[in-house]
Every structure is written in C-alpha cells, then in structure tokens.
Symmetry: C2
Subunit: 217 residues, 2 copies
DNA sequence: TAGATTGTTAATCGATTAACAATC
DNA sequence: TAGATTGTTAATCGATTAACAATC
C-alpha cells in the first residue's frame, strides 16, 4: 500500500530542528523563506533542506520559496502534533519530577496522565495536579487507560524489569533515560536519551581541544 | 605534529556505549571477548567494532580477542575519565537540580563546584553540599575558579545571553539543555541535549507504527 | 518576459561492511 | 601446528552535495 520508501532516521531527527527555526521565523513575522536563506540561518546546505522536505512532499514554490506558516504546519503534522499521546512517568525521582514539570510537552500532544514510584514518601504527592501512585498500581492503571508512552527514569538495576512489564502491558513506546540499552522481546518503540553518554562526548571534545591548544603553544 | 586523521564524531559517540558494555562484562567476571561476541551482544557488526577501536590503537590480539579490563581502561582513557573537569550549573530549576543530584558524573571526572540561579528563593539552598549562588556572582566566581564546563538549564529566552557571558568569561565547554542552537562568536565547545527534539522523534516513530498497524488490519 | 528558486537527478563523499593476509 | 581472531585494505552502501531543467 505504502509505495514511497521509508524516510531515513537522519532526516527525521532534523525535523524538530526545522520546526524550531520556522517557529522563530513565525515569531519574527517573516512570512516566506527560501532554502538558501534558511540554509544560512541553520548552517546546513540548501540542497539538504530541499532534499529533506521533498521526502514528505513539495511544500515550496519555484521562484518564491516556502511559506513559513504553511511549512511550519506541515512539519508539525509530520511530527504528529495533532495526535494525542497519553503518557506516564515511571520513577518520580529528581529527573522524573523535572520532566513532569516541563510544560512544553503538553502542547506537542503529549499529555501526562500518571506518575509512579515505589517510594512511599513520594506516593500521594502531587506534581502538576497528578498524584504520584505506587508502582504496584501500574498494572491496573495501564489496563484501564490507553497509555501510549512511558517515560523511564528508574534506577539502573530496575530498568529492564520495568521496561519489560510495560511492554507486556501493551505500552507502545518508551522514552528511556536509563544509561542502558533496552533489549525487549516485545515489539516496542524505544527512544533513548543516555545523558551520561552525551556528557562523556563533551568531555572527549574538551580533552581534544585542550590537547590541540597545548600543541599550538 | 598530529599526523593521524581526526576520528569521526560517529565513532566517538559509540565509545560511551562500548564502555558501558565492557563495564557490564567486567561485572560479570568475563575477562576476554572477541569482536564477534561483542557484536552479538551490542547488535552492531564485528567489523565496525574492530574499525572503531583501531582508530585509537591495536588493543586486541590475533587469535585471542580483547582483554576486557584493559580495553575498558583504554576507552576510559580515550574518553578522558582521568581528567578532572570543574563544572558549574546555570539554572537551579527542576532540571538543574536533577542534574546536580545525579551522582555518577563525579566518578567520570566531572566535579560540580557551583550552582547559579536568579531566583532569591533558591539562593542559599544547598544541593549536594553546594550552595546555590546568585547569577550576579557568576563573574567573580569564574574568575577565581578554573571552570571548564557549564551546564545550561536556563529558560529559553535567557540562553543566548548566559551562553555568551560564559564564553566571554573563558568557560571552555557548554552542555546545553535549552531547545535552542547556540551560535557563539567565541570559540567554545558545545554539546546539545535538546530533550524535546528527542520526544518529538519518539512521537513520529509512534505515529508511523500506528499507521502501519492500521494498514495491516 | 526575466529572475528566482524549487524539485529532482546525478556526482561526491563518508561511513559501514566484507574479505583476507598477518599472527597470536 | 591448526584454529581463531585481529588489523587493515577493498567493496558496498547510504547520505550529502552539486547541478540543472522545470516552472512560478
């Protein structure tokens, strides 16, 4: 049925970035933009911008460029901002609470409907009008609610167990903050964050930079 | 002086992952591993593993494979875990506090020496023995301390100003959590996290998955 | 109409994978 | 020595960039 070939993940990962730039342009009151201008702003080639966008359709017009607002809406659609995803957070530690408090997810279609933890001191506490529940009530909760996404911010050692349970209960996607690669027997969508990996890469870049500075001297 | 050509960022970004797997093997008491076995565990090709490692040196031995502990140490060295990086956090909101409380960074050489915010209700509060300071004291603090890295968890609109100031004061690297691409006139190392981009990609994957399921039915 | 800029094909570049001689 | 597995070169694959005809 779907004849067009799958868009590569490299392209998909650039979409949120396009969206942000278009959102900025919109705020600046700029109504049209050419791939060349956008290229200069974003620091990528105009060619890549046109290739990327044409994976999804011809949103531009020869001799004119792209209409900022309509392109903004198109990319929003592609990213699925019209969908509504029911989301829960597992692990109400510092990171879990930080994510719960981040308000911007809501307006992209991710609505938080539950937070779980095993710590009795946290259970009952409210974050953004959502009461933290005990992990024991997860099963019943998921069965009674259509949970699309679970955000995993649990300690390292509990990650595989919790992830497997969620998959088993039919949760479709996991946003994983544990520094661990999930290997599930169930078919679930996973997006890893691995913050510590990112910091280590920064450390590497910094070490390289310091080395090259030392060489110049 | 440095004749070997620069290792690509794609390779660097895999190093923390190798390190994690080796750390697991070490914990399991496994002393040697071949690229083939590691390949099976990590889900990447043995060829890629050997190529990656050989960017930095010949750590293996024909007919034997790699010694887990020595490879673990080598990668730790490459990632610069022996270096000590003095780190500060700008923005003591939920995310800033979550990062401050994350203990594992310390053992990778990132030591937290200061936290700053503009909110008077937060100033003076202690996180992990570090007192939150007012942003006004940033300048003096950076001049008196050798700050290598600043972690940026400030609101969107303040990001460019703060980033620029840090760069100007000589901070070498920024770990940026703002959903904004920093463009600095100063020469500073930047590693972006862009959590919301990651969530949007998850949303896209999920939407695709739901579409293909609907088609099968 | 002339100028601008897209959509798209072709060329290039870089990253991944395969193959195999070297060697433990 | 025979078997295993690396380090490294060559082949393949995919992603990025360049070029240009189509067209607004």
């Amino acid at each position: 049925m779907d004849l067009k070939k799958k868009v590569s993940l490299a392209v998909i990962r650039r979409l949120p970035r396009y969206f942000r730039y278009l959102s900025d342009l919109l705020r600046l009151g700029i109504t049209r933009i050419s791939s060349k201008e956008l290229s200069a702003r974003m620091g990528i080639t105009a060619s890549q911008i046109r290739q990327d966008l044409n994976c999804f359709g011809g949103f531009g017009q020869q001799g004119y460029g792209y209409n900022v607002e309509s392109l903004y809406n198109e990319i929003g659609n592609i990213l699925g901002f019209n969908n509504k995803y029911q989301t829960i957070i597992i692990g109400a530690g510092h990171m879990g609470q930080a994510l719960a408090n981040y308000g911007n997810f809501e307006k992209r279609g991710f609505s938080l409907i539950g937070i779980f933890d095993v710590d009795q001191n946290l259970v009952g506490k409210k974050i953004k009008d959502i009461e933290i529940m005990h992990l024991d009530s997860l099963e019943v909760f998921v069965m009674n609610n259509n949970v699309h996404i679970a955000i995993l911010t649990v300690p390292y050692e509990h990650t595989p167990t919790v992830a497997d349970k969620l998959a088993q209960l039919g949760v479709r996607a996991l946003w994983n903050f544990s520094p661990m690669d999930l290997k599930l027997t169930y078919d679930v969508i996973i997006e890893n964050v691995h913050l510590s990996d990112s910091l280590m890469v920064l450390g590497y870049k910094l070490a390289e930079d310091m080395k090259s500075r030392a060489n110049i001297k």
